[in-house]
Every structure is written in C-alpha cells, then in structure tokens.
C-alpha cells in the first residue's frame, strides 16, 4: 500500500514538473515581449525542476543524497527567482516598454520611487 502511494506521488510530481517545463518552453517561444517571456521561463526552474527533484527524493528514500538534493532545490529556487527579478527590474528601469495590443492605448509608464 505504501509502495502504491509513493509511486502515485512520484508520478504526479514528475508529471507536474513536465507540465511546468512544457508551459515554460511554449511561453518562451510564444509570448510577445521580455516581461511576458520572463514569467513562464522562470517557472521552469522553480516549479518544474523542483517538483522533479522532489519526486526523486521521495523515490530514493532518506539518505545523504537527499540532503544534497534539498540543497540543490533551495539554491535553484533562490537563483532562478532572483535572476527573473534582476532581468525584469533592469529592463523596466532602462525603459523597455511592455507589450500592448495593437490599437489599444498602452498603460502609462509607472513612476517608481527609489528607496
């Protein structure tokens, strides 16, 4: 019984990881501008890779390797999110205008106060 539960969990996590990777790839290819592409592509590393690693942890059982995998997950979460933040922020501050539908008035640029 425990075996079945474990396998189902592993399969579900793997599948969700694949879904996030697929979405990230499609989004990277299809989205119109930098900001829109940044959104799906950062999900690849955070949600996609992390759920696959979580599945591996559950599959392998507890050992020293699990600690290493957890460290990998932690730094993957951290670096991917911060990369997305840095790219988006520097693009916005250097004046990359977000995409808007043709014929629709774009939103006026936001005035952001420097802290």
């Amino acid at each position: 019984m425990a075996e079945v539960v474990r396998n189902v969990l592993v399969a579900a996590l793997c599948c969700s990881g694949i879904v996030f990777f697929l979405g990230g790839t499609v989004g990277l290819l299809r989205c119109p501008d930098l900001y829109a592409r940044l959104h799906p592509s950062t999900k690849c590393d955070t949600l996609g890779a992390c759920s696959v690693i979580l599945a591996l942890i559950i599959l392998s059982g507890f050992s020293m390797v699990v600690l290493k995998l957890l460290a990998v997950t932690f730094f993957l979460m951290l670096s991917s999110a911060v990369c997305g933040h840095a790219i988006g922020r520097s693009a916005f501050k250097s004046g990359v205008v977000p995409w808007h539908k043709p014929g629709v008035e774009p939103l006026p640029p936001m005035e952001v106060e420097e802290p």
Partner: protein
C-alpha cells in the same frame, strides 16, 4: 596558380585523412585498441597505480600528467595573451558596467549574492579537494571560484571587487597552478625518479601513500586557485570604461 596549389594541397590532405578513416576499426568495435588495451588497464589497475579512487583523476593527474600540465600552461598563456593585448585594468581608468549603469543594483540581488557567495566558495573548495575520491577536481573548482567572483564583480562593481581582492594579492597567485604542478613534478626528480612520479622511493609504504595523497591535493588546489584567479584576471582586464569612482551606497 596559387589557388591550384591550395587545391592540390587540400586534396592531398583530404585523401590522406579519408584513407586513414577508412582503415580505422568501426565504431563500437571490440577490436579497437582503446577497448583492448587502454580501458582494461585503466579500470583494472588504475586505483593502485595512479593512487586515486576516482579513475578520472588518476588518468588526468597520473597517466596523462604531461597532458594536464600542458592544459594548465594553456590556461596560463591565455591570460598572458589577454594581458598582452588588453593590458591590466588600471586605477583611474577603468570601471565596470555596474558602476556606469544608471540603474542601481537591487537590494534583493545584493542580499542574495552576499548570502550565497560563501556557500559557492565552500562548494568550490569541496570540489577541488574531493577531486580525488569523487567527481570534481581542480579545473571545475577553479571555474566555480572564478564564476563566483565574476558574479560579485557584476553585482557590486569593479571598485569593491578590487578592494576585496587587491591586485597585490591576485597577481602573484596567477601562476600558482603552473608552479604547484612543476614543483610537485620536480619533487620526483629530487628523489631520483622520473618527473611527475608521485610514489617516492626511500619512504615507508604508508608514508609514501600519505605523501602521494598530499601531492595530488596540492596539485588540485593549485590548479583550482590558480585557474580561478586567472579567470578573474581575464575578466577584470576586459572591464574597461572611462572613470573609476567608488559608489556611495555599496556595502
């Protein structure tokens, strides 16, 4: 006429190479020399002959020690070429993109970089020292060291980076990889055996084993630290814009 000569030369070389390829054993053939001689020797006797549990380290540092020494000197001569063409970064003349940028570095990025750099450094040292019993080694560890300092420079700017790693400490360390390798090689000569021999005669079995491990570690550390410093120096000498000013708000 010249074109004809080039054509003839290319044809001769091409036909020779094609003939050679035709004589080679087919891919995956069990009769090819690397399968009959090299692999069994490395896998069967590597551990006691080369003295490293990780067979790749044994091959790199022992069976192909001269080749690795050549690679190390290639990295060093790459640095020499870059400095010969670009010159070193000079105080008063250079500053990095982050110093020149109008966008201030975000607090999130600086915090995360400051938090993760020590961990990255720790991992680099682990990779260098663990090259002997597990995957890793000096070249990989050196790349990690170099990448982490380059990340620090991108985020905080060349001024802060130069303050943390002063050129007086950095420049002498650039040759550490060559010097480490050569000195370990000459230890063998001093004991009356061949260059790059790690098993020294005249010591007891246990002592010779310890000395061999220590020599391998010195070489790995030398390759790692020297390689990392060389990467840093190459990137620093490529950073070049007009003025050098300390930012006010850097930590």
């Amino acid at each position: 006429m010249k074109r004809l000569l080039v054509l003839v030369a290319l044809a001769v070389i091409g036909v020779t190479l094609l003939y050679g390829i035709g004589k080679m054993p087919p891919m995956d053939s069990r009769a090819s020399p690397d399968k009959t001689h090299v692999v069994p020797r490395y896998l069967g006797h590597g551990e006691e002959e080369a003295g490293a549990k990780n067979i790749i380290t044994g091959v790199i540092l022992n069976y192909r020690g001269y080749d690795t020494m050549g690679e190390v000197s290639v990295i060093f001569s790459a640095l020499c070429a870059v400095i010969a063409i670009l010159d070193r970064e000079k105080k008063g003349r250079s500053r990095s993109g982050v110093d020149a940028s109008r966008v201030r570095t975000s607090l999130i990025v600086t915090t995360v970089v400051r938090f993760s750099l020590p961990v990255v450094m720790l991992f680099a040292v682990y990779t260098m020292l663990h090259g002997e019993p597990s995957p890793g080694g000096g070249f990989q560890g050196g790349a990690i060291v170099g990448a982490s300092i380059i990340l620090f420079t991108i985020v905080f700017g060349l001024a802060v980076s130069t303050k943390r790693i002063p050129p007086g400490a950095r420049v002498p360390m650039e040759s550490v990889n060559m010097l480490g390798f050569l000195s370990m090689g000459f230890i063998g000569l001093a004991f009356g055996v061949q260059f790059l021999t790690y098993i020294l005669p005249g010591l007891g079995v246990a002592a010779a084993e310890t000395v061999r491990k220590l020599m391998l570690d010195v070489i790995e550390l030398g390759i790692g630290i020297g390689g990392g410093i060389i990467f840093i120096s190459i990137v620093f000498s490529m950073i070049r814009e007009d003025r050098y000013e300390l930012q006010q708000d850097v930590p």
